[in-house]
Subunit: 353 residues, 2 copies
Amino acid sequence: MVTIGDVAAHAGVGAATVSRVLNDSPKVSEPTRQRVLAAIEVLDYRPSPLARGLSLGRGHGFGVIVPFFTHASAVERLRGVVDVLADSPYDLVLFDIESPERRDQVFAEMLRRDRADGLLVMSLPPAPGALDRLAARGVPVVVVDVGGTNVSAVTSDDFGGGRMATRHLVELGHERIGFLGDAPDNPFGFTSSARREAGYVEELASARIRFDAALVRHGPHDREIARCLATELLALDEPPTAIFASSDVQALGVMEAARDASLAVPDQLSVIGYDDVELSAYAGLTTVRQPLFESGRLGARMLLEALAGRAPAEPESHQLPIELVLRSTTGPPAATPKPKPTRQTRPTRRTNP
Amino acid sequence: MVTIGDVAAHAGVGAATVSRVLNDSPKVSEPTRQRVLAAIEVLDYRPSPLARGLSLGRGHGFGVIVPFFTHASAVERLRGVVDVLADSPYDLVLFDIESPERRDQVFAEMLRRDRADGLLVMSLPPAPGALDRLAARGVPVVVVDVGGTNVSAVTSDDFGGGRMATRHLVELGHERIGFLGDAPDNPFGFTSSARREAGYVEELASARIRFDAALVRHGPHDREIARCLATELLALDEPPTAIFASSDVQALGVMEAARDASLAVPDQLSVIGYDDVELSAYAGLTTVRQPLFESGRLGARMLLEALAGRAPAEPESHQLPIELVLRSTTGPPAATPKPKPTRQTRPTRRTNP
DNA sequence: TTGAAAGCGTTACCAC
DNA sequence: GTGGTAACGCTTTCAA
């Protein structure tokens, strides 16, 4: 392996000068510079990032912790991160979390050895105290889609989004509106679904629609599970005429349940999702759009700033706008009570109980 | 920052002993060991991976180069990699490639400084010579879904998969079978689509069906573009009764085109895809399944072996099995020629020209 | 079983 | 402008 010393020897200069050329310091004469460059070329020399890092006291790893990076929303966010990082000297070091155990393991390792210079934590509330300990180490942290912490954060208005989705349904004339989302006490501690649900509850209240706990279903973030849950909802004596799913994947599950129950969407059942992942356009899903890609970009930029030593004195929090995307899965409820369908599993469906 | 020296001082031992404890060397007496462990605990010490790497002559980065990691197939593969890496001391360093320029930039940087200890290259034929130069550097490389190179590789039988898809259509009775895939001369040098296309051509030949170049369309790997291309195909004087799309995303585009043209799938048009990404089950798409997740796992395991110095003498190549997944988008062609539809853009559709 | 000391490849400070 | 040289924090001989 060829080192800076070899280059120095070959060019007939000192190692320090080679280093200066490498870091294009202004204090190198042009002839020397050329000589060094030539030597680098001839020897096919490349500096060791490890040695460089050790000397500089910092590495080049940009850590991103993300749960279920297979989910379309996580991928979208990551893409924003990638986009920003492409022009930086940092490498994206990805930590995917698929179980609470793994979450704790990663955070523990993160503390034990600094595997990254900075940390972007997405959608996953860190283990208690982890942030403080990281801060004590001087590791900059930015969180995205995580609420209630004391670090720089990028969020979007989940509560408002929940209201927005619900209001849309209310304005269409729905009165029995179901909600389907993550359990508030899920093992990962995800909170965005709960905030959307709070918005749903609030909007119902302000529309003077009685909240019916029977219309609310919780389960892990998964299409299949959402399908089951929605099937339960649709089998109710007084089934909802509209369902607000806390994410697009779950909304897709609801659509499947509707399909299974031979319910036309949106004529017999309105469905609204959340996120606006790419697939939703394909499925024609009405949804609340949150800027996933942009959240990744912004979070990454903020962390990059902190990494460059330009961290804000106080942690700063940015809230990204949300927006209703109207497509073809929501509409007014059926005007009149319909006769009992032929299928036996479906009870009489009434629009206004 | 607390160093190994601090721990040594605190425990009243030498730095070497602390190092031994850290790397659980057997030659440390239990009492000493406990004392060191206690000191580590008290001081909340964590070793610097940088220094460790420098001393050891190797880092802890597991580089993965993947084009368009937003694509479901890439994500699936990555998930396999993540799965394997979770139990290893390596961190996943992700390089996403979304343009040919970026491809060259990444490979160039990869050569200039070793950003990772080993490299897993997925779906993307490396720049010419890049592999050799990497090998010269002693950087182990494994490629996945890339053909025709001289490194350890994980592939699947694209040619056979192309035949398989086509044969399925032929056996259903189709004679006008369209193909839609990546251009053979695409700027990234992707080759799997071309191999599937070759399988399609071959199978057509062995079924004694005349190959019609008009039924073949190429374009970048994108659903929208596939939709346009499929629309062209369907607007032909003698449109295909079935379309084999080289990937599921493209097949979805074909389905959209069919929907736009008010063509029932599979009654008026059969569609078969390739990959079997998660979404395909939702869409009910008949497809050729290739083990994406498993390809990631295997590739990662092979690279891990190489990283551990257990590289095979000769580069070894593994071919993963493919399998036909029958769902609801393929069926026999319409038995009789149909009358001209009411829509004006659609020409007379004939089943058997 | 333990410790002292010599690297590992850079960078940066300090003379010249 | 340039060249020594001391860090940077760890691992690993080599002695004891």
